[in-house]
Symmetry: C2
Subunit: 246 residues, 2 copies
Amino acid sequence: MMATTRIASNTTQAADLLAQLSGTAPLTQSLPEQIAARLSERIVSGAYSPGQRIMEQTVAEEFEVSRGPVREALRLLEKEGLVIINARRGAQVTNPTISEVNEIFDIRAMLNGLRDRLVAESPQRAQLVPLLEPEIIKLAQTADNPGAGDEYIEIVLRLNRLLTQATGNRRLQAILGSLAVQTVRYTRLGLSTPQRRRQSAQNWQRLLRAIRDGDGDTAERIARQRVIDSRDAAAEHLRAQAVNTA
Amino acid sequence: MMATTRIASNTTQAADLLAQLSGTAPLTQSLPEQIAARLSERIVSGAYSPGQRIMEQTVAEEFEVSRGPVREALRLLEKEGLVIINARRGAQVTNPTISEVNEIFDIRAMLNGLRDRLVAESPQRAQLVPLLEPEIIKLAQTADNPGAGDEYIEIVLRLNRLLTQATGNRRLQAILGSLAVQTVRYTRLGLSTPQRRRQSAQNWQRLLRAIRDGDGDTAERIARQRVIDSRDAAAEHLRAQAVNTA
DNA sequence: GTCAAGAAGATTGTTGACAATAATACAAAC
DNA sequence: GTTTGTATTATTGTCAACAATCTTCTTGAC
């Protein structure tokens, strides 16, 4: 199914979701980082299913490297919350319960609140508005299009990246990036219906106004609500799925 | 100065600040974790100064292990934010600017807010109050004692650990633990005067009331204020220090 | 048929050596 | 005296082999 994939030399083409979401795209990636990016892609896309074990030797052979860099890559993925590593039992893809997913969304809600407050209260917010506005308009246009789920998600990710970078708070960037990676598949679920997308687009429009007005309180409130809406929508879909498969 | 320190076999005695703050004390620590704990201690205590390089070979020789576990230990410390690792340039102790410290405090403020709201709104909060109350009373008694700074800090750390564990939110535990490690030295600065300790103790008393009443909004507000107070006090001390040394 | 004990196999943890790269010291030119 | 280029050294990155541990399969007893 998967082509044998030599990583070593030039790998600029590998779509690096992890770095993309984190907002930090270094010019040259180390070997462990490249391996982590490839594995991350497979986990987020579902090619590796939740609970599945990832064996060092297997990965090492596939990428034609030794186990050392693979080990480090797995630790990076653990940091991102994509795998858990048990002593002497190796790594396996995380399989969070609904309640754990909710917990992650709770943290995202708070930190998105902080982020959007910081942006709204920043002196440079005026420069950011022209960047956000066209995207948010596009968002509203895309919301009603039934098949445009992926495009909608793309725009949302771009908006989040813009806002996160605008704070200049590196640590916040890192944490939010990590949490985004862990929840992206659920966010996708939550935005699958036009109705939910319209609700989401409206939230973004209100956020834009709050930022333009420099209203930090409102920006924080909307940001929190936005994530909580997303959380509830995802939870509903997960419940529906569970009923279907049962 | 430092005695040669074999880690290998039995090392339960090593005071493990990192695990202590994280609230997670595993029964058996892996070799990299033990090394990380020892190094963490030195960084937090100031034995390793900010900006100082930590070389793998040196550490490996001191602990009589190979470089592999040391490498992993350094990655763990990077995750905790205690060192930064540059490609092919190794690890050095982080040397955050005042503004970066402030950023970390901002994140802590938000997540402490979430934590204390969750506790206040939890059905099991009644069981927690009897655990918190005696500590908070002790806090008020210790506040005025001019020389009891360390004891005061100890109680605050214990209280934070109790609250963090009470949420049951593992991810929140991990993030807050990591942030606590990074800010503990500044928290210590901020609580060095009896006046500030009285202010702090009063905040804790109000938080206890909010938790007992199940008032999540108030609990969140107080928690945020508490961290922000701490942040401002630390910043003031850092400014004063900078003036003195200049 | 079920469970327990033990052996065989698979997998992670650790080590020491080698390769690649960055930091440093020194020398020569301006 | 300063700067630039070069050679040396120091340090990290990677590898393959070995040790320790866990999993699984088989065998035997009840």
